[in-house]
């Protein structure tokens, strides 16, 4: 081997060990950034919920006026739509269960338990996929028509709110995938607790927002 020269970046000869140690990243900035990112989603849903409740109240006032005048009235959610509680309730319980597995992932990362950490994240992703599956089932079951001739904007708002929540689940699952990648690529999962804890913050908020959707749209109708 003597006399052989290698490029400093010739990784076939494992000179990575000669490179300087990596910079130690500053902890906690990710949590702060994720909190800001999550707050954006909370405000977005706040606007959607406000528009939904406001439209629903206006619609009910109009219908009360029509009823007082002796005219026929129509409901906020068209009678042709089939709003059932089974799917949303199962989704709520599924998401509540996912909070436990999310905490399992954080716990495993903290204790450098890569196997359980990745297993917890995979279970978490399965819960997310199950909820998306249920939402699609519910969309088909609802049978809501966006350009309904009755004049109610319920269908548009319900689709907007539920589809936005599906988008939030997809983003949460991308964060989980990112945490899983870090776990698989790292020598010690303990170094990446901030990543999985940030993903957990976003996930818990997503669950909380679905709880509001469940009550606002499907319970109170």
């Amino acid at each position: 081997m003597s006399g052989t020269t290698f490029s400093p970046t010739d990784l076939a000869h494992a000179v990575v060990s000669e490179a300087p140690a990596p910079f130690v990243p500053r902890k906690r900035t990710l949590q702060m950034g994720t909190a800001a990112f999550t707050a954006i989603w909370v405000m977005y849903f706040g606007g959607l919920f406000g528009a939904y409740v406001s439209s629903r109240n206006t619609w009910k006032l109009q219908q009360d006026g029509l009823a007082a005048a002796g005219d026929s009235v129509t409901s906020w959610i068209p009678d042709s739509a089939q709003v059932e509680l089974t799917a949303p309730t199962i989704m709520t319980w599924t998401l509540l269960m996912s909070c436990i597995t999310m905490q399992w992932a954080v716990y495993s990362f903290k204790r450098s338990d890569r196997r359980h950490g990745v297993l917890a994240l995979a279970t978490q992703a399965m819960f997310g996929a199950a909820v998306i599956n249920q939402v699609v089932f519910q969309w088909k079951q609802l049978g809501l028509v966006i350009d309904d001739v009755g004049g109610s904007s319920a269908a548009t708002l319900i689709y907007t709110i539920t589809a936005s929540h599906v988008a939030m689940i997809i983003v949460a699952m991308c964060l989980l995938a990112f945490a899983a990648f870090r776990a698989l690529a790292s020598s010690d999962t303990k170094d990446h607790v901030d990543v999985v804890a940030s993903a957990a913050t976003f996930w818990y908020t997503m669950v909380g927002l679905y709880f509001i959707i469940w009550i606002l749209i499907f319970i109170t109708k």
Binding site: T9, V16, P22, F23, P25, R26, K27, R28, V42
Partner: protein, 275 residues
């Protein structure tokens, strides 16, 4: 005890909550049964139950203020829990409390954020226009970005030397990038040539096939017999040939997508329907 971040966002949360209650009271129906002769009972019930029962006035403003309060509370809670991510408190977490960690490690320039924006745009356009090809391209772009960006991010953290990190990233990435890109380029070239064959008729198709084959052979012969030709020059020649073939494929597909027996078949069907 309370960090500046908590004070800012905690104050904003309190302001939002207070504002929501004032807004709910002032925008509600003032003609209902009162407490103390001036406060509407239904409004109080509505505000306390966050609209579950009673009256919250103009709902949109009330909800937006409540959610503003919740968002600010989330930020304030995080700020106080993590001490505003303050550098000194973070340093205390490390093995050497006197060493202040960098806020941002040096990273190589990356195209992935811009590519994400393009992928997201194409996906949304595809969904809105209900064009399957667009949203599939968008999904493929976003999936590729997810893998590549994660790989780049991992490599950037590997060592303290940017050049070594880049080489490490290329070494791991090339294992799947070159086969996948090669397959994709081969597929696009085959598709382009097939469009040209469909456009050409009879002998013209043979001539097109001959020209394309000769072009490929010429580049290969050049690569073998003129090894002094630089990699960049050879890459440029291959690139020009590939772009020319793809361009001609696109042009021929646009000019005359289908010729010959397809139209004849349609003509027969039309005749039968006409009868």
């Amino acid at each position: 005890m309370f960090t500046p971040g908590f004070k800012l966002f905690g104050g904003l949360a309190a302001l939002g909550l207070f504002g929501a209650f004032i807004y709910g009271l002032s925008s509600g129906d003032a003609t209902g049964p009162d407490y103390f002769g001036f406060v509407d009972r239904n409004a109080i019930i509505g505000l306390v139950s966050l609209g579950w029962k009673g009256n919250i006035g103009a709902a949109s403003g009330f909800m937006v203020l409540i959610f503003m309060s919740m968002s600010a509370a989330l930020l304030g809670g995080t700020a106080v829990a993590f001490r505003d991510a303050d550098v000194e408190s973070v340093a205390e977490l490390g093995d050497t409390p006197s060493v202040m960690p960098f806020a941002q490690r040096p990273t190589a320039p990356s195209w992935w954020p811009a590519t994400t924006a393009v992928g997201l745009g194409v996906l949304l356009i595809g969904l809105v226009m209900e064009t399957k090809a667009y949203w599939i391209i968008g999904l493929v772009l976003l999936s590729a970005v997810a893998i590549e960006w994660a790989l780049t991010s991992w490599a950037d953290r590997s060592t303290g030397d940017e050049t070594t990190n880049l080489a490490l990233r290329d070494r791991v990435g090339a294992a799947f990038e070159i086969p996948v890109l090669g397959l994709a380029l081969g597929g696009v070239l085959a598709l382009s040539v097939s469009r040209m064959f469909l456009w050409a008729t009879g002998n013209a198709a043979v001539i097109v096939a001959g020209v394309v084959s000769v072009l490929i052979l010429a580049v290969a012969v050049l690569a073998v017999f003129r090894p002094q030709v630089g990699r960049r020059t050879l890459g440029a020649i291959v690139g020009i040939v590939a772009v020319a073939v793809i361009g001609l494929g696109v042009v021929s597909a646009v000019i005359e997508p289908r010729l010959g027996h397809h139209d004849e078949d349609h003509g027969v069907e039309s005749t039968v329907e006409g009868e």
